[in-house]
Subunit: 178 residues, 2 copies
């Protein structure tokens, strides 16, 4: 599947509602437990997505599209959510993510990007040169990866409850690397 | 997290709407592509979940709870969806899954299961003896595993579009085993 804006945006538009639907009104253990040392709970993941809306995807898009600026992205802070989400409740985080995402996609659409724009280059501090199309594709994959992560972290809470089933429920055998 | 019915049922109740929210109104490539030979598309996964509602979780629950019946489960057909979903559209599958799940959970709740019931035993044709609590825990994990799978299969469609990002977007490096 080739990256096309009109196929990517519908996925990006859904993510806040998908995560809200998956998590809202659940007993808090499903939200607050992680999958082991140095891993993230669903609550942490939402904070991470919020920080991405504020500092990553559209900020980098703007940088690529502006004329004459240095094109190296600021490194992304993967731990910002631990401070930023403190004292917030889940509904606040859902609302904040939804609002930020909505505004970012409004901004993205308003740019009427051409295929020439999508070929423009930025410099990732660790990965090197990337095109705008690659950045926007990564945004989609990043969303989907974190939806999968939230589901997996929830599933892991029952790892010791399923008896012999981990043989077939292979998600339980996943070793987190992110 | 210990299995408790009142914490498991809210997760099971959500799954049809989560999957509908994730997939509805998307360009069909997101729905119909898989992640390689002998793997499933999101469309295939919904058919598989439907077949589970019809022949697996509650059927096995009933078998465990009935007195005097042989307790060995029928093997589950992992390929039934390829025939059953043929000629159906996505909205039909969403509706069918939602309806079946709703009825199954109504039935589950009506049983007012005691902790003694949850300790009752059935025999999985390959895994051997399992308790009802393990079966119901596996139902939850199975749902969450397939939500994660759907997200992953969608993410994989952009594997060649993200340039150097698979290094960080580790979901793209997952090798399907299910």
């Amino acid at each position: 599947m080739k990256f096309e804006l009109n196929k990517a945006i519908p996925v990006l538009e859904k993510t806040p509602l998908v995560i809200r639907t998956l998590l809202r009104d659940l007993p808090l253990e499903w939200i607050l437990e992680n999958e082991g040392k140095d891993t993230w709970s669903p609550f942490d993941v939402i904070g991470h997505l919020i920080h991405g809306e504020k500092t990553d995807w559209m900020v980098r898009t703007e940088l690529i599209l502006e004329d004459g600026t240095p094109k190296t992205f600021q490194p992304f802070d993967r731990f910002a959510q631990f401070e930023n989400s403190k004292d917030k409740n889940l509904e606040d985080l859902f609302d904040e993510f939804e609002e930020l995402r909505k505004n970012n996609l409004t901004s993205l659409k308003s740019k009427n990007l051409t295929s020439k724009d999508l070929d423009r280059i930025g410099v990732h501090p660790e990965l090197g040169e990337v095109t705008l199309a690659q950045l926007l594709s990564a945004w989609v994959v990043h969303d989907l990866g974190h939806i999968a992560q939230i589901s997996r972290v929830m599933a892991k809470q029952y790892k010791s409850e399923v008896g012999p089933w981990p043989k077939y429920l292979t998600i339980l055998n996943h070793i987190p690397k992110e």
